[in-house]
Amino acid sequence: MTERAVEPHDIVVSLYDRYGASLYRYALMLLTDHAAAEDAVHEVFTSILRSGVTARLEADERYLRRAIRNECFSMLKQRAKRRQMQGDPDAILERIASADSRPDERLGLERGIRLLTPEQRETVHLHVFEGLTFNEIAAISGASLNTVAARYRYALAKLRNLFEGVRSGYARQTRR
């Protein structure tokens, strides 16, 4: 039996299968745009291929997360110079599983998330959706623990204000 050398192609696809969805969701929360999130993930995997360091990356989720973060913030800088996107944006959130589904909740949350700063979105994403502690988020973002906690607090306050507005509007509609 002959052993086949592991090709960079196989490593990259296997890396994607392991971490792709999580990295994509991180990019989507930072960029709030599906096409841009796909481009960011694609760019990171392409750069891995270019750099030829696939072998040592096999289990390095931290490296990939940092690479996605750098790519997304670089894209956000570029985007600030570009023309505004037109049309209704696609959904960025999906409900995990709940029978009690109210259509206004997702829209209200998404509207709020889009109004947060990228750093606030990042903090909310890593803490709520990825389950990281503030210490771990501070290490990823290069910010102090206090800054991370403040970002989270301000983000939730903003979301709460918007979300309450949407809820009360929905309550008025359903009472009629």
Binding site: G20, Y24, V41, H42, T46, R95, R106, H125, F129
Partner: protein, 324 residues
């Protein structure tokens, strides 16, 4: 505190949307086509590959290199070719100063090849607009070879020229599907057209090989010739047929162009007659003309240093005009 927990709990009922399966396919495809990246890396330049949704959502493969803060030059190849056509520009000293971007037009190279989406001028225009905006190209020079100027003019027809810095036609045509359009094409090229549409592999290969030999003065090295033949054969005959079956002209549009125009033509072009230069010059009195001696249909290949110098001078003049 209760409200804060409320929002957190509501958030926890959701999660960000998962990626489309197409993303995995895209990454796997890039990994498979790694040699394309490797080819340019060997030349010492860093190539970024992009997939951009163009007109009608068609995915377009676009490559960029060079100075990210330099003026962008967007290269648009001719029928049946791909971005590799411009390798002698992408790997030249132009990259020190300019942001060099080369796209695979729809139906070509690694871009998507829809069955029937080649006859609508707006789709072609949308492709260019998508690349310009997706890559944030600030007042790019659109440099089109052979069929490329038709695509450039599709863009100008629908989007105007305000976003452009300048336009370069390289051995280009600006009309199709009429006696007048055919009159600027040589009998040598016209005799190859049936073979370009053929689905017979031998005939198709023979005709594409002959077309490639018409593009250059000297027989390319075997390595280059087979690479060119490879990417030519990757274009379905139906795509070539659809492109050449369009029927339109830009006689109304050319005299309205205000942006600087460079017309480059190989003096020994055996595909597009040099009389086309006179026609274009008549409609574009402000255009600069550069006839490249000892060059055939692809002067950017036959005399890459000469071509690159012309392009650089044109771009430098744009900078001076911008300053003044």
């Amino acid at each position: 505190m209760r409200d804060r927990l409320d929002v957190e709990n509501v958030l926890r009922e959701f999660r960000p949307v998962a990626p489309r399966p197409a993303l995995r396919a895209r990454i796997a495809s890039t990994a498979t086509n790694r040699n394309v990246t490797g080819h340019t890396d060997q030349e010492g330049s860093v190539m970024k590959h992009h997939m951009i949704a163009g007109g009608g959502g068609t995915q377009l493969h676009v490559v960029e290199t060079g100075n990210p803060s330099g003026r962008p030059i967007l290269f648009i190849h001719g029928i049946s070719q791909c971005w590799l056509t411009w390798s002698r520009q992408l790997n030249s000293e132009l990259r020190d100063r300019y942001r060099l971007v080369a796209m695979d037009i729809r139906g070509h190279g690694l871009s998507e090849k829809p069955r029937d989406a080649y006859g609508d001028s707006k789709l072609w225009a949308d492709d260019i607009d998508a690349v310009v905006h997706a890559l944030n190209l600030d007042r790019p020079v659109l440099c089109g070879w052979s069929y490329g100027p038709l695509v450039i003019l599709d863009y100008v027809r629908h989007y105007g020229e305000n976003h452009l810095g300048g336009i370069a036609f390289v051995d280009g045509i600006t009309k199709l599907g009429s006696e007048e359009a055919i009159s600027v094409l040589t009998p040598e090229f016209l005799s190859l057209v049936p073979g370009l549409f053929s689905t017979d592999v031998e005939e198709s290969t023979r005709s594409l090989g002959s077309l490639l030999r018409l593009c250059v003065v000297q027989e390319p090295a075997a390595e280059d010739l087979y690479l060119m033949l490879g990417y030519n054969l990757s274009v379905p005959p139906a795509v070539r047929k659809a492109l050449l079956s369009r029927s339109f002209d830009n006689d109304d549009l050319l005299p309205t162009l205000q942006k600087p125009v460079l017309i480059v033509h190989g003096e020994r072009d055996p595909v597009v007659k040099s009389s086309v230069v006179d026609q274009h010059k008549a409609s574009l009195p402000h255009a600069e003309v550069a006839m490249i001696p000892n060059a055939a249909h692809a002067p950017f290949w036959d005399d890459a240093p000469g071509f690159n110098a012309r392009l650089r001078t044109f771009c430098e003049r744009l900078e001076l005009q911008a300053v003044s």
